[in-house]
Amino acid sequence: MTRPWLAGLAAAALLASCAADRPAAAPKAAPRVAPQLFSRDPYPSTYRAYPGVPTLIANVTIFDGEGGRIDNGSILIADGKVVALGASVEAPAGAETIDGRGKWVTPGIIDVHSHLGDYPSPGVEAHQDGNEVTGPVHPDVWAEHSVWPHDPGFSRALANGGVTALQILPGSANLFGGRPVTLKNVPARTMQGMKFPGAPYGLKMACGENPKRVYGGRNQMPGSRMANIALMRGTWIRAQEYKRKWDKYEKDGGEAPVREVGLDTLRGVLAGEILVHTHCYRADEMAIMMDMAKEFGFRVAAFHHAVEAYKIPDLLRANEVCSAMWADWWGFKMESYDGIGENIPLVHNAGACTIVHSDDANGIQRLNQEAAKALANGRRMGINISDETAWTWLSYNPARALGIADRTGSLKPGKMADVVLWNGNPFSVYTRPEKVWIDGALLYDALDPTRRPVSDFELGQPGEGDVK
């Protein structure tokens, strides 16, 4: 049997000679040989907020993203931040004032699960960059190295979806799929230009059918669910050993251990610096993954897809794991067979962290509608969740799962002015984003064609600059 990570080991050893690209701060007690810390951020964000004008939206209904609601209120944004919101807010001199009568203001939607950029449009073979299907254990690959910033899908997510930040993940062919990247939904020439400054890294894992189908079909491990878990555990054991060596070296110096790109990621997970996002459908498998997290001492930030989360909301709550879900997807494969339209409200109702996600270049344009369907399905079975509470599924909870809730995801003074003005109740099918600000910059305006991004790919093509 081949062990793909052995090949990775050799490659990593070659890279090790150029690994330490940033010297450590001077250690307190001089060891024999000072440890060389490697950069945790070798492809840093170059995103800078675009300029905005102080803007007051008055007479508007506000969902603050953390469950708060202000009717007929006002919100002021300036210098890229939320300044104030309430029943009445004074507009500073020179501020633009928007009459929000009949409209709604919410935090920008954050999609915790997207493949924009790594499975971009057009979906031609040359663009299939989301899965490293050459081996089931690939914590070494980083989705950001696949992201094509000119994917036209980003602009649709902005203009039709009100999406202001999103996590781009590797696919689910592999048990360890690699590192996702969190982006601001602001067009840029480079991936780094979109990268959410200071967002923690993630690790994509996948349980269930996909890995065993891809590799079992090649007569390779994993060919079964039990092999999924066996390979994961074996890999975590290596990661623990790697972490022990590197922790010791970074503390005491001496001879540097061999560096492996993939194990750097797993060490980051075990150190609590990198957040685990696990593709998992079935309840029984999620329970196993939560035990595995305990076995090796890490935490799962979110189960993605989580089609059967409604069967174990008590466990999810106790383990403080978020569930990122669709409203009504079901039946496309065996592990999605038990999908129900009440999954989201049932998870919420049990007190577990609830997120609406897309995993889809079309679905990301209507996450508000997905939440609306789930909300209504819940109410129909007697689970009465308010509209403003349901908005936590779309911005604050995904921000929490991504480790950026201290900066965005809700409309609190001092936080990033990632804001959507909707032309009606955003849970209505008849409502669309009217304006979208990211860090206070107006980047979409339905009433102004010059505030509509057009990707490089679409320039000079049929339909360029259309409303889409």
Binding site: G341, Q365, Q369, K373, M381, F427, T431, E458, K468
Partner: protein, 473 residues
């Protein structure tokens, strides 16, 4: 239509949930009046507050504002609710699979079949598929079901079905032939559009030749003296339209099996609709041009993501379109100009557009059609976009798909004489928050319970009680 609707195959337990007063069987000629609701006919007109729908014998007697309720009619009060034509899934694969990725359950495509045009989906429809039950609960009452192409540009013959809970799903078998003439067609044809077009022409040539020699339906001669002329029968009444005689001599240079060639005879003669999938503007124009060469073809365009750019040509050709509602990404090079305004712009140019779900969850999620239609209404408020009025949007998921397959007189609206496919909703059916409360197909009340509703009820409380969950039902 010679087939009469059967009696309801009832499940007593489910019927206990029925709205009091609705009939379990259409056989009785009892008049039923659904009163007080907001009525949407599905014919493109706007909703009617406080309307009445009269049903008798599985058919609509009358519907609208000033409909008198005859004495003795059973009354169903729908005050505060919406009463509409049932949703017609415009392009789907409903009933052809249970789980997409479980091959044994998936009859959409036959990758290793020797046949293409001859394939007929009707015997593969499973009326007990979860996709039928779930979408029925979502207010979908009929579906246009097409096979998918595999090794030929011709996918085979599709059917119109109902989503009732009985064992007779077919409304019209062999309602159309489905062919791929875009990117997919190029792939099916060996690698180019040029090859797809020559294969198409060759196939129709072989059909023409075969039609001359044999007594195939739609061909020029009868099968045998004394037998009824097949041209006088509805296509689906012909036991096997694909090859009636053994004496069909053929030239040597044939590519199609006799079955496949024979299946194309009614297409050639215009007795069977031809649904053509094409997305790119130039592909669409090539499809329209086929009419010059084959004047009897009765075309329906499927897809047409770039249709808005050539909408006047489509309108002039009077070819209806079954389009995806919300494509707005250049997901393929054949749809660079995709926009959610496609449907609205085509309609504005005079094209008659139905919504379908082309290669997009079309076997299990056709219930999403009403959300899609609602989004088309929303577009009307975006400057530069083209939306639809509520009534026009609702027609794209009711009467328009029925009309596209030639069944507008039979299905898809609440106009008098149509089959009584009626849904009572708890609110505006295009809104995200609304759901179907009562679903009638041919006037027969249907169960809206299914695997999903049962799971929901079992896990209303997730933790175990006195016994394991498996005892909880």
């Amino acid at each position: 239509m010679t087939r009469l609707r059967r009696g309801f195959v009832g499940q007593t337990r489910l019927l206990a949930l029925a709205v009091a007063g609705l009939l379990a069987s259409p056989a009785a000629a009892q008049m039923v009046a659904i009163t007080g609701g907001t009525v949407a006919l599905g014919d493109g007109s706007e909703p009617i507050a406080g309307g009445t729908v009269l049903i008798r014998g599985g058919r609509i007697v009358a519907a609208g504002r000033d409909v008198a309720v005859p004495a003795g009619a059973q009354r169903i009060d729908a005050t505060g609710k919406w009463v509409t034509a049932g949703i017609v899934a415009g392009f789907s694969r409903v009933g052809l699979l249970e789980v997409d990725a479980v091959d044994e359950t998936n009859d959409v495509q036959a990758n290793n079949s020797p046949f293409s045009a001859a394939i007929d989906v009707a015997p593969a429809i499973n009326p007990l598929a979860s996709g039928i039950a779930v979408n029925r609960a979502g207010g979908v009452t009929r579906a246009i079901v097409a096979p998918a192409s595999a090794r030929s540009i011709f996918a085979g013959q599709g059917a119109v079905i109902d989503l009732g809970g009985d064992m007779q799903p077919i409304t019209r078998a062999r309602a159309f032939q489905f062919v791929e003439l875009g990117e997919e067609g190029a792939g099916d044809a060996g690698g180019s559009r040029a090859s797809a077009h020559v294969l198409f022409r060759n196939a129709l040539r072989e059909a023409r030749d075969l039609g001359r020699y044999s007594g195939i339906a739609g061909g020029r001669s009868s099968a045998s003296p004394g037998a009824p002329d097949q041209r006088d029968l509805a296509l689906e009444e012909i036991p096997d339209n694909r090859l009636l005689t053994a004496g069909a001599a053929r030239p040597d240079d044939v590519l199609l099996t006799r079955f496949d060639a024979a299946a194309l005879v009614p297409v050639l003669t215009g007795r069977q609709l031809l649904l053509v999938h094409a997305e790119r503007a130039s592909d669409i124009l090539q499809v329209l041009a086929l009419k010059r060469e084959f004047p009897n073809l009765r075309l329906v365009l499927v897809g047409a993501a770039e249709g808005w750019t050539v909408a006047e040509a489509i309108a002039a050709a009077r070819v209806p379109v079954i389009a995806n509602a919300l494509l707005d990404l250049p997901a393929a090079f054949e749809m660079l100009a995709a926009t959610q305004s496609n449907v609205g712009r085509m309609e504005a140019a005079g094209v008659r557009v139905a919504l379908g779900m082309i290669n997009d969850d079309e076997a299990r999620q056709v219930r999403l059609a009403r959300q899609q239609a609602g989004n088309l209404v929303a577009l009307g408020r975006i400057p530069g976009a083209a939306g639809l009025s509520w009534g026009a949007a609702f027609a794209t998921i009711t009467s328009r798909p029925a009309e596209a397959v030639g069944l507008g007189g039979e299905l898809g609206s609440l106009r008098a004489g149509r089959r009584a496919d009626v849904v009572i909703w708890d609110g505006d059916p295009l809104e995200n928050s609304s759901a179907a409360l009562t679903v009638l197909i041919d006037g027969v009340q249907q169960s809206i319970e299914n695997h999903q509703t049962r799971l929901r009820d079992r896990y209303r409380t997730a933790t175990e009680g006195r016994l394991p969950k498996a005892y909880d039902r």
